[in-house]
């Protein structure tokens, strides 16, 4: 990876993406170290305010990773999360940040390679945008 180390938060459903990340680790698959994983019981728990607060604290990107459409453990949590991600993208645009700093991904617990692809794709995307202007020069509110 090139550029400044990034701080990307990945909200991962414990029934799929979190397990996929675990599997990727178990298989010794390499992926960019810029992602910090937060385990959710379901992406349906994804909270707009929490994501906004993360950006306010200076994170560079946020990804939500839930089950494949139709496979949500709670039936539709992943579909509801997608709508919320769309709303957050709109809010980021209003605020003056690139809407693409937040994205939704879907995968099953067995899809370790897809987890690696998603993280790589997100890291490359954010790298192109550069770190969040809210943390450049210490403007971010949070430290670590």
């Amino acid at each position: 990876m090139t550029g400044t180390p990034l701080n990307i938060v990945a909200f991962c459903c414990e029934h799929c993406a979190y397990a996929a990340a675990d599997l990727a680790g178990g298989l010794r698959m390499q992926y960019p170290p810029d992602v910090r994983i937060v385990q959710l019981p379901c992406t349906g728990r994804l909270d707009v305010l929490t994501v906004l607060q993360a950006f306010d604290e200076g994170v560079d990107g946020v990804m939500a990773a839930g089950c494949l459409p139709g496979n949500c453990h709670f039936l539709e949590g992943n579909l509801n999360a997608r709508r919320r991600v769309t709303r957050i993208q709109g809010l980021l645009g209003e605020i003056g940040l690139e809407p693409g700093r937040v994205e939704m991904f879907n995968m099953s617990a067995a899809m370790a390679a897809e987890f690696v692809t998603a993280v790589t794709e997100m890291t490359e995307r954010i790298n192109e945008m550069g770190p969040s202007p809210l943390r450049v020069g210490g403007a971010g509110r949070g430290g670590d």
């Binding site: 707009v48 305010l49 906004l52 306010d56 809010l91 209003e94 605020i95 940040l97 202007p133 403007a139």
Partner: protein, 227 residues
């Protein structure tokens, strides 16, 4: 409930202008249950405004408080200290709350953070629909419990008009024709014949047309406050 919708962030930023200390005030009742101006929405606005003003190179001190009801002096007074230290208050209550702040705190600058929209109800998650026009003289007793003042685009008392088509109103395929609904429900209740009795013109004096309205209940007034 009174429903409202958040104003675009750009508009709120313009309303705030150069103010340094911004207080976002949520309301814990109607606008909380329609997800427009409760404590969560206040927190969302605070964090959004904070980011936007920092990005614009003009960071502000932005704080938040939410009272149970902005339209009652007792609750509003709880926020007095916060109000007094703010250069501007962004009220997320309906227009009543905004005006209550202006009336209670004569020196405070208050601006609305939401657009008050209508009197209505949630018909499903994420959808609210208008139900009442607060016309001051309820006629639901003769319209099968469906309000043609609020729900008919023309507020007809003897409908439907010629624009009623396959159950929906001519203004939009998404709007059910109120008079079709009234007809169907009267029929279901077996009292369709009430439609044979045309309704005389409504006296709109009890509505907004008679000017701002006021209710006085002498039995509830406190003796010390009698005029």
């Amino acid at each position: 409930m009174i429903t409202a919708e958040r104003k675009p962030l750009e508009e709120v930023k313009d309303l705030i202008g150069e103010a340094r200390n911004v207080l976002v005030m949520g309301c814990g009742t109607c606008v909380t249950v329609c997800f427009a101006g409760g404590s969560r929405e206040a927190a969302e606005l605070v964090v959004s405004l904070r980011m936007a003003t920092r990005l614009a190179g003009a960071p502000r001190e932005i704080t938040e408080t939410t009272v149970q009801r902005q339209c009652e002096w007792e609750y509003l007074d709880e926020a007095r200290a916060d109000v007094e230290q703010a250069d501007v208050i962004v009220s997320l209550a309906c227009g009543i709350g905004v005006q209550a702040i202006a009336e209670r705190f004569p020196d405070a600058r208050v601006v609305p953070g939401v657009n008050t929209t209508f009197l209505g109800m949630p018909t499903e998650h994420g959808i609210w629909e208008e139900r009442c026009a607060a016309c001051g003289e309820c006629i639901l007793g003769i319209t099968a419990g469906i309000c043609p003042i609020a729900r008919c685009a023309k507020s007809l008392l003897n409908g439907p008009c010629g624009g009623s088509e396959a159950g929906h109103c001519e203004v939009s395929p998404d709007t059910p024709c109120a008079w079709q609904l009234i007809h169907d429900r009267l029929q279901r209740l077996g009292v369709l014949d009430v439609l044979m009795q045309p309704q005389p013109p409504k006296n709109w004096k009890s509505s907004r047309d008679g000017g701002p309205r006021r209710i006085v209940r002498d039995d509830l007034r406190l003796a010390g406050e009698q005029e």
